[in-house]
Amino acid sequence: MASKPVALKILDIITILLLLVATGLVFFFAPLERVMGLVQKVFYFHVAAGWVGMLGFLVAAMVGGIYLARGERKWDIVGLASVEIGMAFAFINVVTGSIWARPIWNTWWTWDPRLTTATIMLLIYAAYLMLRSGIEDPDRRARFGAVYAIVGFISVPLTFFSARLFRTIHPVVIGTNQPGAEGAFDMTADMRLVFFFSLFTFSVIFVDLLWHRIRLGQLQDQVEQLKLKFNV
């Protein structure tokens, strides 16, 4: 097994530093929202986690297409890694959204179009992992996984645009906001700075985790090949 590349070690350090700076900005630089109070500070990482979730599913769909075109197993490893990371962050997004909703909407959960589509998206990718675990033949598993990642990706733009297309109480952060939306707010320049820095930080976290997960996938692939050889 290969030792950790120097570039990955550097990326690890950069990622940790960025996360520390982003956390510091959220707590000590971003202004206190005058109506919602401290819970609004969840917003910066809540949206960033949602972004990483969708980014993970986008990458999975793209590499799914590449796998179907070329049939190289490395793309399947990337696809699985992307979905797994995407799911972890989409989960963070949904749970922190619920925590934010409790004091602001006075409920932990409501079947609002954005919340519903985000949950369906999460369940679709949970089913992706279940589907994979049920198939033993690696090539068949990779093929099914690739097709599923492409088809499942339909849920991602549906989730993203749900707050824009349907009547919803979920605020639209980027683009036109709905002033009437419960919990909507206009960002100040400082808030915007922290928001975009958080998005950037989480994008770097995604790349770092993806690299680690791909290395794990390659290792697991080697183990699987040997297991098949020995019929273990």
Partner: protein, 56 residues
């Protein structure tokens, strides 16, 4: 809706703490799972490689 009538910001610090516990908790759990799975895979690989060498 009552919080629109209040003077200062709403007292929502506990919810913020809960949110960040979830954020850092899930990220830490995922990191730990990566480390544990890597360690297990390395052990499996070493065992299988030693089996392969014995067969030769």
């Amino acid at each position: 809706m009552l919080f629109f009538l209040q003077e200062g910001p709403a007292q929502t610090g506990n919810y913020m703490i809960a949110g960040y516990v979830v954020i850092f908790g899930v990220m830490a759990l995922y990191l730990v799972s990566l480390i544990v799975r890597r360690r297990n895979s390395i052990q499996d690989l070493e065992t299988l490689q030693s089996l392969e060498e014995k067969e030769k």
